[in-house]
Structures are given as C-alpha cells and as structure tokens.
C-alpha cells in the first residue's frame, strides 16, 4: 500500500542552513498492516512523517514514495489528505478563531468534494461527531472551542484521534501520539486507533518508547537511526530495544 | 496604602526641589585660559574653525557646502519637545584651551585638564588607568583581569589626549582624534565621511557638518578584534559655547570593536548646544558595539540651564552578516533629540538598540531608533525603557521599515515606560512600515507606574523607600543594563540612582 524506495530528504527552512535528514529509507507497508518506526531523538522519525504528508520545506532529494501506486511526493498536502493520508501531529497546531467542528466539517467536505463524493449533511455530521466524541470520552464542549487553543497536551492528542475517526483515512501516520497521555488516555486513544484497523488500511506508528506498542500491536518494527533503517523485525524487536536500549543496536549496526 | 501614595506625591515635590547641585557631581568648571571663536555663525566662523585645525582644502569645501545648505534649512519641530527659539548666532562655535592643538604628548596637557578628567574618573595617564571609568572599582577588584579602556578625551572643541594609541597601532587599529585623522589618514576619512549621515541629512547634522570641532576616528582593519575597549569622553567647559563633535568608526571585514562614550558638562544657567554626528560603518562580518552614558548637565529644578542635545547617530551595516548594536543610558541634558539608527543593508545583518532614558526635573527627551531593513534576512531588536519623574517628558520615537527587497526580515520591539509621580509624561510614538509579506514584525509597549504594591512589599521586608525604588527601577531596566560592558553597567546603575534620587519620599 505504501512503498518507499531509497528515500532521501533535505530540510530547507528559512533562516537555517539546509540539512540532510533522511539517507535512503526503503520500506513497504502492505494493506492491513501496522508498522512501527522507532528510533532515538533526531533519527529522522518526524521528518519521515512530514515528508509523507508534504510539509513545505521538507524536500525529497532522491528516491520515491508511492501510496496505492501513486507518486505521493508529486501531490499537494491536501491532495494527499483526500487520498486518505492522515498525519496525527506530534505537536498539533493551535488555530485561534476556528471551532473544532467547523474545521473538521470543512476538511471532511473538502476531501469528499475532491473525491467526487457528496458533502455530508449537517445532521449526519453531528451524529457521527457525537458518537466518536463519546467513544473517546471527550467533553462535547471541547468541540465548540477553537481548534487546540488552550487544550492540554493530552486533549490535543485525543482531538487528533477524534479527527482521524471522523475522516476515516486509509494511511494513518501516528507521530509520537503517546507523548503527553496518561495511562487511561493512552488506552482510550489506542482503542480508537485499533477500531480503524482493517484489511484496506495501513498504519505507521512512530514512537520513541515501547509502551504505545503494548496497546497498538505492530506487525513489523523498524529502527531508524541517522536517517536510515538499521534493523527490521517483528514485535519482539521493540521489546529488545526496551531492554537493551538504542545504543547497543546502533553500535551493532556499525 | 494611602500613606505610601501620599509619600510618593510628597516625594515628587521633593524631587522637583531636589534636583540640585549636590546630585550633579560633574557640574564643576575648569578654570583655564581659553581660545574662543568670535560669537556668531558665518562663513568666517567655518573658515576660522578649519584654519584652527589646519585642515586641507577639501575639508574646508565640505564644511562650506554644508553651511550653505544649512542656511536654507528649517529646524525640525515634530518632536514632543518645547524650548524657546535657539539663537544660533549667540554662541561660540569653537572653544579650546590655549595651545591645545600643540599638545604633543600627555606631558604637555595642562594639569587643570588632567585633574578635570581625574575628577570625572577618567585618568589620562596610561599607567594610572585601571579602568576607564571609576565607580566600577569594587567589581573590577572582584574580576581577575582588569579591563583596559583606551580614551580619547575631548575638551570643548579639541581632543586633548588619546591613550594607548601606540599599543592599538601595533594591532593595526587606528584610534585618534578626528582632527588628526583628517591630516594623517585623509584617504580613509574622505572615503567614509558623510556616507552614513550625508552632510545635508537634517538641520542639526548639517550644522555639525559645517562647524564640527573634534571627535574620534576609529578604523579596525580586516579580521582584527580590537584588543581593548575604546572610548571617548566628551567634556563641555567653556561658557557660551556649544560642542559639535564628529565620530567616525569603520569596522573592516570580520573585525570587532566595542566603543564607549561618556559626556558631562558644568552646571551653567545658560543652555548649551550640543549637536554631534556619529557615523558607523560595518563591513562584511564586522561587529560594532556602541555604548553611551550621556550625563550632560540637565538644568536646575526650574528648567534653567542645561544642555540641548541634538544628536544624529547612524550605523550602516554595509556588508553581509554585519552587526551594529547601540546601547544608551540617557540621564542628562535638558533636551534630548536623538535616534541612533541602523541601516541593515547587508544580507543577514543585525541591528540592535537598547535604551534607558531617564528624565527628572524639567527634562525633555525625545529619543528612539530607526531600523531600516534593506537586505535579506535582516534582523533587528529594540528594547527601550523610559523612566519619567518630576515634571519631565519622555518620548520614545522609532521607525521600523521593511523594504520590498528585505525578504525574511524580522523585528522585535519592546517599549516600556515607567512613571514616577503624577506630574510627568511618558509617550510612545512608533512608526512601523512593512512591504514584505514574509517579514515578521512585533511591537509591544506598556506604560505603568511604580507599583505601590511592590513598593510596599519591599518596604515591609525592611528596605527603605529609596532603596525600594532603586530596586524596582533596577528590575525595570535590567534587560538593557545587561547589554552594557561591565565597567559601564556599574556606572550606569549608579547614575540611575543619582538621577532618581529624591523622586520619591
């Protein structure tokens, strides 16, 4: 479903020198599978997620990224979203003045329009929103407030999953979704994520720690270091990392 | 806390009465034989000054052209300042100790003048120099290394001594009086003079261009980090005279210099005019830090006397990645009209302005900065702290301008005003002009008074009211004080305390 071949990337942001941050990533995520990307800070995990979502300034210098056979890198961010790419942000952005519901409905309808589907009716939208909010045990008032403004770290993460459940994407990229969550919230959020697991969806779970993977069981685990995948394996790889640490593995990979 | 409030108001009244001689310790007169230009300002005056300085013909031409233009110009009236019309014909445009231009070495300088500077805390004999400025002794004792400061001492219209010249010359640094530089380095002077502040820039700068007397010339060669702080100490002494100094600092590629400037004048019941021009040029990768502690005689409590300080200071970040930083502590002068500015021409250049302006008694200050963003990714930062006490008025006036080519420009401005007592005024007049969508400009300003709650809190813990005020004011100006070279920071802090003495109960 998602195919990355020798993907290299450079970060060019205004006011900072260009920096190489991915040094040849090759990865295939078949439909129905959940893959975890683990790695120490600065290994390029977030870069990978931004690159796949199309954040301006993150530029692939060589290699390719295909989603459902289509060249992902050639698409605008909103076109990728319409194809079903959803990035749960590590740091969700605050947008003052735009209430959550207004925003999600605008996004949903834009995606639908782009796919040639009819817009969702207001009652249907409300019904769906209410059900999902309930499932994530969110205070309904939260959905009337401006997007992420004044939300706690945990509330923001929960709201990301709310949006994911509303938009029903095909490829879900979870960037450090567990940070800022307490144990109960982690469980609720993971249940939400797991509900979306299906044979025609794929998922990339980016995390520093093993604990999220206790709740969202990966099919494969990849270890990213210095912009390169240095090890891949089953769920047991994550457990090994937890007990031995990254250093041993990185040293071993030489 | 009604009693606190009453104390403050009573204190304000005290302050108005209290701005007297004992608080301006620099107010003495040096008795020395003078040489004066005849009163008045004509072409002849300009020729007289030029001849006194034994200037080449091109310099005289330059002055005369400026004088011609000046006669057609009008004095600006847009500042929030009020003062009676200045009679430009009623002053001596040149005043110097007799034979000053003949001093060959420090040994020729009359004892009265050496004593004057010693009394001001500026020893001019190198072996006596522990520090450029006194008052920092305690701090210096604590510091392992004794910082050294080279001094150019300007007494009325002439430079009387310049210290550490030889040592600096060994590093390739030219540090001398402006008059000497015109004679010894005419090529450098001609190449840069008037390129930052054109001779017809504004009324006061043009006046200066015609009659400037002395000042300091600095050239730091490529890649040289100036081995010590450089400074100029300006002293106005003669009755009925003005001071019109000219300073030109050039930092060549990759060089660095930190320069300090101090000013004082005797207490006189007349108004003395001071119209200086300072030009800074920073070439590629160079950095200039320019600090001023301005303590001209502010006049008495009724507003009699005091220096009229009309100054044009501008720095040109001409090369890429150059940096100019202005730091000023303005406590003196009856009138201050002064906007040290940066032209950010080179890509990635940086301009900074840190200012503390204190007005008390009947003082009026209209001061601030201009940051002109011309190059790409240029950055500027403005921190201004105004303190108004007594019956004074204190205005911040600034311009931040982003031109269409200045992609990625950034500015942050913070202007805070503090009012002490209810008879003073605090004003903020910023101009912001942005013609780049990718530029980011932020401006914040606040006006508050010394908090009664904080004062009470400090007093409850045992501080005297004066101490409490000093503590709070120090907190208020902290961001800027920290930007001063250490030996100046101590003096500045002391100066603030003295300036505000008696402003509360």
């Amino acid at each position: 479903m998602l195919e990355l071949k020798d993907l290299r990337a450079r970060l060019s942001l205004e006011g900072a020198p260009d920096r190489d941050i991915l040094n040849g990533v090759t990865l295939t995520v078949p439909a129905g599978e959940v893959h975890a990307i683990m790695g120490p800070n600065g290994s390029g995990k977030s870069t990978l997620s931004y690159l796949l979502a199309g954040r301006p300034g993150y530029e692939a210098t060589s290699g390719s990224a295909h989603f459902l056979g289509e060249d992902l890198l050639a698409l605008e961010p909103e076109a990728r979203a319409a194809k079903g790419v959803f990035l749960s942000f590590q740091y969700p952005v605050e947008i003052p003045g735009v209430p959550v519901m207004t925003f999600v409905r605008a996004a949903m309808n834009a995606q639908r329009t782009s796919r040639g589907e009819a817009e969702i009716s207001a009652p249907d939208f409300l019904k769906k929103s209410r059900a999902i909010a309930e499932r994530l045990r969110m205070d309904p008032d939260m959905l009337k407030r401006p997007l992420n403004v004044g939300f706690s770290g945990g509330e923001k993460k929960r709201l990301e999953i709310y949006q994911m459940l509303m938009l029903e994407p095909r490829l879900m990229i979870l960037d450090e979704t567990d940070s800022g969550l307490d144990i109960d919230a982690l469980r609720i959020v993971s249940e939400g994520v797991n509900a979306l697991r299906s044979p025609d969806r794929a998922m990339l779970v980016i995390t520093h720690y093993q604990r999220l993977l206790d709740h969202i069981r990966p099919d494969r685990v990849h270890v990213l270091s210095a912009g390169r995948i240095i090890a891949s394996g089953g769920p047991e790889l994550a457990l090994r990392l937890e007990s031995e640490g990254y250093d041993a593995l990185i040293a071993g990979a030489g | 806390m009604p009693d606190v409030k009453e104390n403050i108001e009573a204190g304000t009244i005290e302050a108005v009465r209290g701005l007297e001689a004992d608080r301006y310790s620099e107010g003495f007169v040096t008795d020395i034989e003078q040489e004066l230009a005849p009163r008045g300002l004509t072409q002849e005056t300009v020729r007289f000054i030029s001849a006194k300085k034994e200037e080449p013909e091109w310099m005289l031409r330059w002055r005369l052209d400026a004088f011609e233009r000046w006669q057609e110009m009008e004095e600006p009236d847009w500042a929030l300042l009020s003062y009676p019309p200045i009679d430009y014909q009623d002053a001596h445009y040149y005043a110097a100790p007799k034979n000053a231009s003949k001093y060959k070495s420090i040994d020729d300088v009359p004892k009265e003048i050496l004593d004057t500077y010693a009394k001001l805390g500026i020893p001019l004999r190198e072996q006596e120099v522990l520090l450029g400025v006194e008052g920092a002794k305690e701090t210096a004792a604590a510091a392992r290394e004794t910082p050294r400061v080279a001094v150019d001492a300007v007494f009325d219209s002439v430079s009387v001594a310049t210290t550490f010249k030889e040592e600096l010359a060994r590093a390739g640094v030219i540090f001398m009086s402006f008059s000497e530089a015109v004679r010894e380095h005419p090529d450098l002077v001609r190449r840069y003079l008037g390129t930052v502040v054109p001779p017809t820039d504004n009324f006061f700068a043009t006046l200066n261009s015609a009659v400037f007397s002395d000042g300091t010339f600095v050239y730091i060669p490529k890649g040289v980090r100036c081995p010590m702080e450089l400074s100029t100490y300006f002293r106005m002494n003669a009755r009925g005279s003005g001071q019109f100094e000219r300073t030109l600092i050039i930092a060549d590629e990759g060089s660095y210099v930190s320069y300090l400037e101090g000013c004082t004048a005797p207490m006189r019941d007349e108004n003395q005019l001071h119209a200086a021009v300072v030009e800074l040029v920073a070439l590629e990768g160079a950095e200039i830090r320019y600090s001023t502690v301005q303590n001209w005689w502010p006049g008495d409590s009724e507003g009699k006397g005091g220096v009229y300080n009309f100054v044009t200071k501008r720095g040109d970040c001409r090369g890429a990645r150059s940096r100019i930083s202005w730091t000023q502590v303005e406590t003196g002068s009856a009138i201050t009209w002064k906007y040290p500015s940066c032209i950010l021409r080179g890509d990635d250049s940086v301009g900074e302005f840190y200012s503390i302006a204190v007005t008390n008694g009947r003082q009026q200050a209209d001061t601030g900065t201009k940051m002109i963003h011309l190059g790409r990714n240029t950055r500027s930062r403005i921190i201004s702290k105004g303190i108004s006490a007594g019956r004074s008025n204190n205005t911040y006036r600034g311009l931040v301008s982003v031109h269409p080519r200045a992609s990625g420009a950034r500015n942050f401005t913070q202007c805070d005003s503090l009012l002490i007592g209810s008879s003073s005024g605090a004003h903020t007049v910023p101009y912001i002009e942005n013609r780049r969508a990718d530029a980011q400009l932020e401006h914040e300003a606040t006006t508050t008074r010394l908090s009664e709650d904080q004062l009470f809190y400090a007093r409850q813990r045992g501080l005297g009211e004066e101490q409490a005020v000093a503590l709070l004011v120090n907190g208020f100006v902290r961001d800027v004080i920290q930007k001063l070279p250490m030996e100046f920071a101590v003096e500045a802090q002391k100066l603030l305390e003295v300036s505000l003495e008696g402003s509360v109960g």
Partner: protein, 399 residues
C-alpha cells in the same frame, strides 16, 4: 504634534483653493467659517503632513479619473429607518421615532479637532441632519454613495441620557471625492453601537470622519469593516469628557489590488476611570495598502485610565503593504496603558495542518484569514455583525 507646514500659511494647491472659493459663494454660518479657517491651515492634506504620511489626499485627487467609476460597490448595512445621501445631498429619508431636522444647527460647544477632511465636510456640507435618537428608536441606517464630483455631508447625532441606540453607516462611493462628518454626542449613561462599512471604487477618495463625545458613564462601541477605496480614510476622534465612560474601537480591513485604507483614531482621556479597548485587524493582498494610526492621550488628571490598543495585520501576498503608528501620550501615572502591533504572514504551520486534513490551500488561507480578522468584528451588535462577517467572507472567497 504640529506639522511642519501649519506654522506658516501654506501655499494651497489649485484643488484646495477651488474648494475654498466655493464657500465664498455661499452665505457661511460662523461654524462653517471656523471650519473653513481650520481647513485653510493645510488645505488638502498630503504625505508631508504628520498624520497623513500614508494617505496623500492631494496626490490622490490630482490623478485624472480613468473612467472607472462605478455605482455603489456593495450592499449597505440595513437599519430600521434611515437616511441616504447621494450626489445631490439627501435622497431618501425616514426616521420613525427619532426627531431630526435637515442641516446641522450652530455648534454651541467646544468642537473636537477632526482633521482637515472633517473640517472640509463641515465647511462645504451640501446637506446634513441633526438627529436626536429617542428611547426605543429603531437602528438607524445611514448610507452615503455617489459616483462623481465632490460630496460633503455633515451630521450630528445625539444620544440622550440613558438611551441605548444603534447606528449603521455605509460609505459606498463608486467614484469622486466624498467626506462625511458625523458628530456623535452621548449624554450621561447613554449607549451607542456604531457599525461602519466602507467599500469604495478604485478611483474614489472617501473619508468617514467622526467626533465622539462621551459624558460620564456613556458607552460607545464602534465596529468597522473597510474594503478600502482608491483612498479611504476612517477617522475617529473620541473624547472621554467625564469619568467612567467606556469605548470600544474595533474593526477590520481587507484590501486588494489598488485599494487603500487609513484607519485613524485619536482618543482623549480627560475623566477618571474611563476605559478604551481597541482591536484592529487587517489583511492585505498584492497591490493593497493598509495603515493604522492610533493615539491614546491621557490627560494629567485622568487617573485610573485603562486603555489598550492592538493592531495586527497579515500581508497575504508579496506586493502588499501595511503601515502602523500606535501612539501613547500619557500624563497621568496611575494608569494601565498598553499597545501591541504585529505584521506578518499567515502561520505556515497552521496552513499545513489544515491542508493535511484535506482543505485546499485557497480555502485554508481564506478560513485562517477570516478567523484572524473575525475577533475584531465580534463586538458589533447582532445584525451588523453577521452582515460585516458575511462581507468579509465574500471578499475572502471571491464569491
């Protein structure tokens, strides 16, 4: 601050002299004569006069018209009853509850300085009205339009003690030169919401000048939306004459190619414990130019003043220009005064976030921009609020 030209008698340009000559032909009242003298001090203002740096009326009027004048470029704000002024003066009028007379009677009280274009409107007003809003009066709608020539109108609106009222002004010139002056007088405890909508043709010079006098305890809320004009100036001179009055001076501007707006306010605090809140937001596209000039003046005895000024602008594209001069002039010490001003581009992180969720770039920009300016329109009362937000949204989406 006095201008460099006001000290001596200026040389008036031909257009200014022509305007003054017109008054000679009339039989001027003392008020008009006073206004004429005030105008003659500068004539038509230009950029060298302090306060007119970013709205050079003289230059704008010296450009020959290119024949692009249009009829009213937008729909006026609605009201329960109202007056409409066009090229020939009053064109329609019906005021149900309020009392009014055509023309403005002699000004007995101290007259606030409303700037050169305000004086010009008073001196040369072709038409006007003196209105007293009665208790229970319907929202009053005032519409000013026209497509050529010069149009000057002078109104006075009184809000008597304790009365709560609403006025909606629409300034919709398609061309020519217009200046409308409205003097608002709020008596003790009175309350007025003033909504102002300005949209002018690319060639027109349009000024909406108001003086506002607040008696003790009066409340004045102003909300404007300006879509600019060839040159558009919204000038408000507000005085807290007594204690405890309250002013809100909000609004937004949205400017496209060839449109300019200069939003100018001067607030004088003379009484104790009065408050002023000002939030102005703007967004400008390529070829547009916005300016904000705000000034709070707090007099020596106006202790406990609480005054906050905010101006925030977005430059949506290269080629846009925004200028600001947020001024404080404070002579009292026991006050809380602050201002903040920012200019910049839309937040890139927010834009990406929205696009990641599937919003097309244009829609994301429009939504972000609308949410950016909306908070400056929310102080308007229900009715005008929705109308102004609707106009803003139409402008942003190009609908």
């Amino acid at each position: 601050m006095s201008s460099s030209l006001s000290a001596s008698a200026p040389l008036l340009d031909a257009r200014s002299s022509g305007l003054l000559a017109r008054l000679e032909a009339m039989d001027p009242s003392p008020s008009r004569l006073r206004a004429r003298e005030a105008f003659a001090r500068t004539g038509l203002p230009h950029r060298r006069i302090e306060g007119w740096r970013w709205s050079d009326v003289r230059a704008a009027l010296s450009r020959p018209p290119a024949g692009g004048a249009t009829d009213a470029p937008a729909t006026p704000l609605a009201g329960g009853s109202g007056l409409a002024f066009g090229e020939g003066g009053l064109t329609a009028g019906e005021l149900a509850v309020s009392s009014w007379t055509r023309g403005v009677s002699e000004n007995e009280a101290r007259v606030p300085d409303v700037g050169a274009l305000g004086w010009l409107a008073e001196a040369l007003a072709l038409d006007g009205a003196d209105i007293t809003l009665a208790p229970g009066a319907q929202p009053l709608a005032l519409v000013f339009s026209g497509r050529e020539g010069d149009r000057f109108v002078h109104l006075r609106i009184r809000v008597p003690q304790g009365v709560e009222a609403q006025v909606a002004e629409s300034h919709l010139s398609g061309g020519g030169f217009s200046s409308v002056r409205v003097d608002y007088v709020l008596e003790a405890g009175a309350s007025l919401h003033r909504s102002v909508f300005l949209a002018g043709g690319a060639e027109c010079v349009q000024a909406a000048v108001a003086s506002v006098r607040l008696a003790p305890g009066a409340r004045f809320h102003q909300t404007f939306l300006s879509l600019g004009a060839g040159l558009s100036r919204l000038e408000t001179a507000l005085t807290h004459e007594g204690d405890g009055s309250e002013a809100v001076l909000d609004g937004a501007y949205l400017l496209g190619e060839g449109r300019r707006t200069d939003v100018v306010t001067r607030v004088d605090h003379l009484g104790v414990g009065a408050s002023t809140r000002q939030l102005v937001r703007g967004a400008v596209k390529s070829g547009g130019r916005g300016a904000f000039q705000g000034r709070f003046h707090v007099a020596r005895h106006a202790q406990k003043t609480d005054a906050r000024m905010q101006h925030h602008a977005l430059l949506l594209e290269e080629g846009a220009e925004v200028n600001a001069k947020p001024e404080l002039e404070i002579y009292a010490d026991d006050v809380q005064c602050a201002h903040g001003a920012t200019t910049g581009a839309l937040d890139e992180a927010a834009l990406f976030y929205m696009r990641q969720r599937g919003l097309p770039l244009a829609q994301a920009r429009a939504l972000l921009t609308l949410s950016f300016i909306a908070s400056a329109l929310e102080s308007a009362p229900s009715g005008p609020r929705e109308a102004l937000l609707g106009e803003a949204e139409r402008w942003l989406t190009g609908a």
